[in-house]
Symmetry: D2
Subunit: 328 residues, 4 copies
């Protein structure tokens, strides 16, 4: 934390999780609470993300409150998508709650929308915030990975492995939809790791006719089972499967993995990421660095302004896509 502008020392922080939950959020909360306590700070837990600021639903958190949560999915502070907070009036109420509770600064754990909210709260009402990326989508700038993304990929992979058993045994074409509204991260990683035959991501145009050509050619060589991963942001699995059947006249099966990708026991990577970022966020606040987002880039803590972090992240998928196609 080089260029810290030492102003007023903070005494009490609040922590919240907001937006879609991801595995590792509890590990992040634990780190925030214990690292802050270690540094002499009081910690308030805000329930249901920004909603808790509007409803004044706030609990006290101590070292013990976060025992045995490092390996639990979900978030003990609960989370929500709060519409009222995205009105100026809502944020005014939120800022008043912060003041009323004597909270000097906030740690916000969430995705793009949550970051945006934190930025507004600081810009309009001078509530100091530090943001860390809690979202399975891995679509936040300034960090190589987001908390929950590694767990989501491994959960998708576990499902793909199971489906592969049936796919191979019954010689079917499976179209599997994974999460990722704007970002093909889970799709491309699970496709490469799962040995999928093809993958559709929002970052790349796809030509279904070509895919069908490959399927038909493969069939002539005896390759009959086929797994195609589809990021929800690229297409609907159901529609893709229907078109493949129409073009190839082959049976297809569809699986939409859905919400199993958010929860579950976090992987080592997500726990370590969450633990490091939780302490980094507290460090930012201790150093009066506000409106900043912490991430990890090339193994080191990386800090950028929140307004930079929420710009569109460009996921490079070309290398992985090329490998998937070569190795099929």
């Amino acid at each position: 934390m080089k260029n810290s502008k030492l102003k007023t020392p903070i005494k009490k922080i609040g922590v919240l999780t907001s937006g879609g939950d991801g595995s590792g959020m509890n590990a992040a909360i634990r780190s925030v609470v214990r690292y802050a306590s270690h540094n002499g700070l009081e910690v308030a837990g805000i329930m249901r993300g920004y909603q808790g600021l509007i409803d004044d639903d706030i609990i006290s958190l101590s070292h013990r409150s976060v025992s045995n949560v490092i390996n639990k999915g979900g978030t003990l502070l609960k989370t929500a998508r709060c519409k009222e907070f995205f009105t100026r009036e809502g944020r005014k109420k939120a800022a008043a709650t912060v003041k009323r509770h004597g909270i000097d600064a906030l740690v916000v754990i969430g995705g793009n929308g949550s970051y945006h909210g934190a930025h507004l709260l600081f810009s309009e009402w001078k509530v100091p915030c530090a943001c860390i990326p809690g979202t399975i989508d891995n679509d936040i700038r300034g960090t190589d990975a987001t908390i929950g993304s590694d767990t989501a990929v491994n959960t998708a992979l576990d499902a793909i492995d199971k489906i592969r058993d049936t796919c191979t045994s019954m010689e079917r074409i499976f179209v599997i939809e994974v999460m990722g509204r704007d970002c093909g991260f889970i799709a491309i990683e699970s496709a490469l790791g799962g040995g999928a035959e093809d993958v559709l991501v929002p970052e790349l145009k796809f030509d279904l006719r070509k895919i069908c050509e490959r399927i038909k050619k493969g069939r002539l060589k005896g390759k009959i089972s086929w797994i195609i991963i589809v990021a929800e942001g690229a297409a609907k699995a159901q529609a893709i499967a229907a078109k493949i059947t129409k073009i190839t006249r082959l049976e297809t099966r569809v699986v939409v993995l859905g919400h199993i990708q958010r929860g579950g026991i976090p992987t080592a990577k997500d726990r370590i990421l969450a633990t490091r970022l939780g302490s980094a966020a507290v460090d930012l606040l201790l150093n009066n660095q506000y409106d900043k987002a912490a991430g990890i880039v090339n193994g080191e803590i990386n800090v950028i302004p929140v307004r930079e972090a929420i710009k569109k992240k460009d996921l490079k998928v070309d290398n992985f896509y090329r490998l998937i196609n070569i190795l099929t």
Copy 2:
């Protein structure tokens, strides 16, 4: 096998897996092959279920062929639903293949349809068969469990646990559809084991208005997250969720677990069941007991005629259903 009618000693058996795959089929094949070899029999592997008999797609299996498969999902012999076999002409072809290869008897691993096929093959063409239950649905008579059903329940449970993380964190109503076309086995077991708030199974009538009443009452008492398990044979999760939303005006989320329930590493129970039944099927053939199905009832091998095994199994769900409702 007490009352065996010793007729001609058999020398070569065939083994096939048919219908939807289930985890543990490989453990069953391993047991058939090694137990038969141990008893001096040759073993032929028939590919793709009855299709392999029609296409004459048959391989030789030895002790080594089944090394390291006991813990693999799917089936190394592949499986299929073969329409041609369900014509008399098809079965004639199949019986000719059996004869051509010098196969004296078959072990059929599969579900209801596969059992029915085996019975026809024996009735019409005198091909001796022993059947063992390989299906995740647990809808075969004469056995407490079928190969793959314990794994399917545990896989469903793992998914429910993950979804519970999000359900609790985001305070949502989730409707989760599990497999089970005619049978609520996976649904009722995973609902009780998963602590689900409600379950819809084909064995019981349900009253969606009452369920919605409970949801609304729960909400007044602060109970906001809710998981409802739906067997695919009872209703479509999507339709149930839509109606709940309509009646309660609360948001719902739907997850259809789908094909992840068939594959994956088999549980201890499925491996042991498969191993015991594989050897029991060979014992039946060694004792010239034909057209019989082996299962395990109260821990002991149980043998009934195939035509009995395929009658509708009555799953008793009342006790479990009562507990689910009391414990919510």
Copy 3:
């Protein structure tokens, strides 16, 4: 509960977990608490087994106290092996605590020692108890399975699968020690399910020279990797491995699975067993059936006197042992 002797209706029960922990104990506690609440009873949670009765460490449990614990390993009431309780003076103290708190009856979740303690508490001080089997060893009479045993077997199996990867890749002899002081249950189930080449259990004499002969013979036929499961009650893996090396002059590796077998997410079977038995125990108390143990035999609730339940259970291992040897 047929022959119930209706005496005084009970109003408040206590629940405790005692002895070594097993996965599913939390599911059992949840069931006891909610089933009792549903029947109008108050529930006290006794911490650390009988130690909590001696130390007067008792908490109040409600429907909410047991939310989201059905899938958690360990026990929220903690557990201990309490020496003082096994003195008459200790039990006197314990009985006084029970009385002081207005507790009418106890549900005891544990193994042999815990059952014995419950029996003494009833015999000497008229504290009514109902026992349910919480132990990974599966050595309690009157039930086909104990809570935690299915999870332990599956955990052992997962470890064996992983070791098999190395065993096969590096062509080694592995001796793996699993839990089971007086009972070969985990060993024989995980050996059959894991495709182990041999197993040593307390129930059967073994001849290490014969095992070494098989290893040497196998080697001549090209079988080089070998897994031998040892129940801790049969022998020490380290000693067995040393002897095998001495006799065969082949390298061996040892893995002692140890405490990983107790914890972890409970399987479907353990959760369902725990849930059914928890409610059965409360039913016993509601029907003034005291000093009884509930189990499940052939799928149905089974009740026997506690003093019967703690007699030595005879595990039949012959069939499984024979299969292991045939299928290797």
Copy 4:
């Protein structure tokens, strides 16, 4: 591959896995085989590492040979530690085998010893090699991670989670030994991710008296359960536990995780790493870049001379160690 010195085009490569196995080796073999085939190369599989070169145990590998292995632990080519190869005479034999089979270059998948062997084979006998890091220890230079290390950490973590259940329920001190002869990687990652109370690694001196002081102090504040992770290269868990008991007079329990850390289904990270590095190794050979090791640094393929890769890697553990101590 910029500065490639285009010499003779290669036509046939060999691939081998050597040293201790790690999960993901099969994914690496798959990638080597298919990427090479795609580029018109023939691929020979060398069995049991360098032993296969000495024994002339070589198989042909095609696209189909590596179907469905991406998610399998162990190595289909088997592996060994070959003493004879570490004599000049042994390597001469190996080089002759390479020549006899018309193999132009080798891909070596393994750890330090295997890299060293590849370097000698090139230096002495001009057998061109490309090395990729297959070892759970993560002790190879020029790469952020080695194939198998992420899986090993996650397996250790899963075991720690399970032991934590018992540790908390029974309020015990556990000393858990993980792999890592010269390197504390698995220990430090699993300790941070597992929320362990302390960790002993070869990279840092430790003071057992201080640890015992912390345990005693914690006890006064009510902290009774304690997990200490020990890298096998730092100390023996058994000895550490005995000393803690001697100093604190508290009971301790020991678990040595052992060989479960090598095998099992590879994580997404290990599969992707293996897949990328497998193709990178083939690229090196296609570009006549010999005696080089490929790794991934900061997300990009990184190539260094083999003799650099085997120098001692300095694992930085200070930050993680500090966090572990703060967050306990």
